[in-house]
């Protein structure tokens, strides 16, 4: 046997020894499970022995972050989790299934306690807000159908807001609210709107669900979270204006704002609807007026004028874009024109926003800019095309020289060679 083979054998032996030592150490430091029961594996730190008889609830609770933060079965339900003897387990301060009316107060025992919530950086005002909400007010009056904490967050399987599987994750909120506000039996009984069905048809829902725009508003964006309540008529422009700031600015600058407030007309909602808000449509500039105004009124004509301004500008921009596409096919240098057409489109978009003043002259201040940019581009490109066409006249000069050269060559060809 060579020296090398002997060395390899020694190495292998050393490795095997090291591995077995490692295994022994791991076995020594492993956490010792609660044993002494035939069902040891389902007796866990969070659920204690409750899970022996309530396996579904145990699994649900253990999926929640509560389980990791020492919130045990007994924290909410009381009783004794060290035994499976039903009398002892369900004795003492055992409450059984928590009564709906007491759920908010029970959750608030921890969630309104600043000292406890501080380490998690969680707010503690949810209970106070809930009491102010429509849900909380009705619950205080003894209405048992309204939402309590567990209706939205779940009972045992509560997940963090940031968890996409959570009931209160932004994309899940409409469905969570819709469990009651989209329940056709419930909304008929209580004479409330089927807000969920309306919301699903809205442009907001389209943005959220179809385009994945996480900033699109859900129910809570307008109604509040724990303090959920319908906004007052007077506050509607403020609520919508949180996102649609420019629209609100123009709306307040126009005559509609004061008159609508005077007559208690819900401002934005009057034209756009509330839950089923539509995408912005240009033709609504003219067609929406008749919702409130009589058909022959001079106010109705204002809408038609704004639409007219808009359409004229749009036509010019479209023409400019067509010319740019032609120039691109040549290809010519058009990057500058692409940027300017974008500028014109921005003016046009601003004109739509400015239409909230219902003053055609304000709209025209933007449509005129859009129009002039579109017309400038058309002028410049038409000029360039004309120049390109003119340069083709160079062909005439070219053919002149070709013909002259041909003449010379022909003469030279037919010349008699020198003797």
């Amino acid at each position: 046997m060579s020296a090398r083979a002997g060395f390899a054998r020694m190495l292998a032996l050393a490795a095997a020894l090291a591995l077995s030592a490692e295994a022994a150490r791991a076995a020594a430091t492993a956490p010792v499970p609660i044993t002494g029961s035939r069902v040891g594996r389902i007796v866990t730190p969070t659920a204690g022995r409750c899970g022996v008889c309530h396996p579904t609830e145990r699994v649900a609770l253990e999926s929640s972050p509560h389980a990791r933060e020492d919130v045990r079965c007994t924290s909410c339900h009381g009783g004794d989790d060290t035994t499976t003897d039903e009398k002892r387990a369900h004795g003492g301060d055992f409450t059984g299934k928590v009564d709906r009316g007491t759920v908010p107060r029970m959750c608030a025992r921890c969630h309104a306690d600043e000292k406890r919530m501080r380490p998690y950086d969680l707010p503690v005002d949810q209970y106070a807000l809930y009491q102010q909400s429509r849900h909380g007010q009705l619950l205080a009056k003894g209405d048992r159908q309204v939402a309590v904490c567990s209706d939205c967050h779940g009972a045992h399987d509560i997940l963090a807001v940031a968890d996409p599987a959570s009931r209160v994750y932004p994309t899940n909120i409409p469905r969570t609210c819709g469990r009651c506000h989209g329940d056709t039996t419930l909304v008929r009984q209580r004479h409330i709107k089927n807000a969920y069905a309306d919301y699903l048809t809205s442009v907001h829902a389209h943005q959220l669900f179809d385009l994945g725009n996480m900033r699109a508003p859900t129910c809570v964006s307008c109604h509040g979270v724990h303090g959920a309540t319908p906004p007052d008529v007077a506050d509607i422009t403020k609520v919508c204006g949180r996102c649609h700031t420019t629209e609100r600015r123009y709306f307040i600058a126009g005559p509609h704002a004061a008159k609508m407030a005077e007559n208690n007309v819900p401002a934005c909602i009057a034209c756009h609807g509330n839950h089923a808000v539509e995408a912005s449509v240009v033709t609504r500039l003219a067609s929406n007026c008749e919702k409130c105004h009589e058909k022959g009124d001079p106010q109705v004509a204002l809408g038609a004028r704004m639409l007219d301004e808009y359409k004229t500008a749009q036509t010019e921009i479209d023409k400019a874009e067509k010319l740019i596409a032609e120039a691109d096919a040549v290809p010519m240098q058009t990057e500058d024109y692409h940027a300017r057409v974008e500028e014109a489109r921005t003016y046009l978009r601003e004109a739509m926003t400015a239409a909230h003043t219902v003053q055609p002259e304000v709209v025209a201040s933007f449509t005129l800019r859009a129009r002039s940019v579109g017309e400038e581009i058309q002028d410049e490109l038409t000029h360039k095309f004309a120049n390109a066409r003119m340069s083709k006249l160079g062909l005439v000069v070219f053919w002149f020289y070709v013909l002259v050269t041909l003449g010379i060559l022909r003469r030279y060809r037919n010349r008699r060679p020198r003797a």
Partner: protein
């Protein structure tokens, strides 16, 4: 050799003009006549050149030899294959100075050539129009040779080389069409590749050479290499074979040598050549200026624009592949057999006139051409579902 020449009358020696002096200086170091004789391979000089004599004497002899009227209109197509190829080579080299054969660079660099580089548009359009004319020329040449029965002995090699030139030009067009990498070129190349790949045996081989069944950056690069190196070399070989054969077996319609009205000289012939070249160039310049080709934006492999067709010469094959029932390889086999029969059937008919008479052959060719036209029209106007 001295730098002066002897006066025939034995008078005083006259110094040579400076250019002939330079030629004489060079001639002591290199055989210029041998280099000059290369021209005979490209249809510019038809008379045999005696490479042992100095250039001046050789040229004087060529100039003095009366020629039968060489290379008149019937032969113009053969000359054009060489002339247009020279034009394509020159413009192609200029384009290659700026072209990037990469996925990102191809369209951008083509656009840059046409838009930003002085006279780049001109070079590009000349290359495009030259290619169109070249295809027309090689196809017409094959048609003419078929119709005038120029495949009969001893012209079989000429016939085969003409068909090969046509094939190479179509390949050049197929690969060159892809290079701008804009929407149209990308998708027409894609359709073309579908047709090519449907052929049994040949299809897998071509897709192996090109690097895939679909157009990718690798296929682009290989198309580029085939387009600028491999296929032009094949084409040059074809031209050499054409003119080499021509010098040995003579022109197709030789003028009767005894007719002095048809007699010409090398000087006249060369000037005709220059005049013809000038006219061709002027025509191409006019086409390139008045009817330039357009661009339709960079290629997007993820969206097929509606109404994409392969190149026009593949439209009939496209129709067959599209609408022939049964498995795809049947259509491919049909195309392959049709392609192979073009050079072979006329040669076979010439050897076996009792099996396939000349009249029958012509009738068949006309019928085939009519079918081809109909299929092309169907392929062009019936939109794929």
């Amino acid at each position: 050799m001295s730098t002066t020449t002897q006066d025939p009358q034995g008078g005083p020696q006259k110094p040579l003009p400076w250019h002939w002096a330079a030629v004489a200086w060079l001639e002591q170091r290199i055989n210029l006549t041998e280099i000059f004789s290369i021209l005979t391979s490209f249809g510019i000089v038809y008379t045999p050149v005696d490479t042992r004599r100095p250039l001046r004497e050789a040229m004087a002899e060529i100039g003095a030899t009366p020629l039968v009227s060489y290379a008149r209109w019937p032969q113009v197509l053969g000359l054009l294959t060489a002339l247009l190829f020279a034009l394509e080579a020159v413009t192609g080299v200029l384009l290659a100075f700026y072209y990037h054969p990469t996925g990102e660079g191809a369209y951008a660099s083509t656009e840059g050539i046409v838009r930003d580089i002085p006279l780049g548009w001109f070079i590009h359009q000349m290359h495009d129009w030259g290619a169109y004319l070249l295809i027309a020329v090689v196809v017409l040449r094959v048609v003419r040779m078929f119709w005038h029965r120029l495949y009969l002995a001893p012209r079989e090699v000429l016939w085969v080389s003409a068909v090969m030139l046509m094939w190479v030009v179509l390949q050049l067009d197929f690969t060159g069409r892809l290079l701008p990498y804009d929407v149209t070129s990308y998708w027409s190349a894609m359709r073309g590749l579908e047709i090519v790949c449907s052929q049994p045996v040949v299809g897998p081989f071509i897709s192996f050479v090109l690097g895939g069944h679909v157009i990718t950056e690798n296929v682009l690069l290989r198309s580029y290499v085939l387009h600028v190196v491999v296929l032009p070399l094949l084409y040059l070989i074809g031209i050499y074979v054409t003119f080499g054969t021509m010098r040995r077996i003579g022109l197709s319609v030789p003028a009767e040598g005894g007719d002095p009205a048809n007699a010409t000289t090398w000087r006249k012939h060369t000037l005709d050549f220059v005049i013809f070249q000038l006219l061709l160039f002027a025509g191409l310049v006019t086409l390139a200026t008045l009817l330039p080709f357009r661009f339709h934006g960079p290629a997007d492999p993820y969206s097929t624009p509606p109404g994409t067709h392969p190149a026009w010469y593949l439209l009939s094959a496209y129709t067959i592949v599209q609408y022939l029932p049964g498995p795809g390889w049947i259509a491919g086999l049909l195309l392959l057999l049709a392609g192979l029969s073009v050079p072979i059937v006329p040669l076979w008919s010439a050897r076996n006139p009792q099996r396939l008479s000349d009249t029958r052959l012509r009738q068949g060719a006309i019928a085939l051409f009519a079918v081809w036209c109909v299929l092309t029209l169907v392929g062009a106007f019936v939109v794929r579902k």
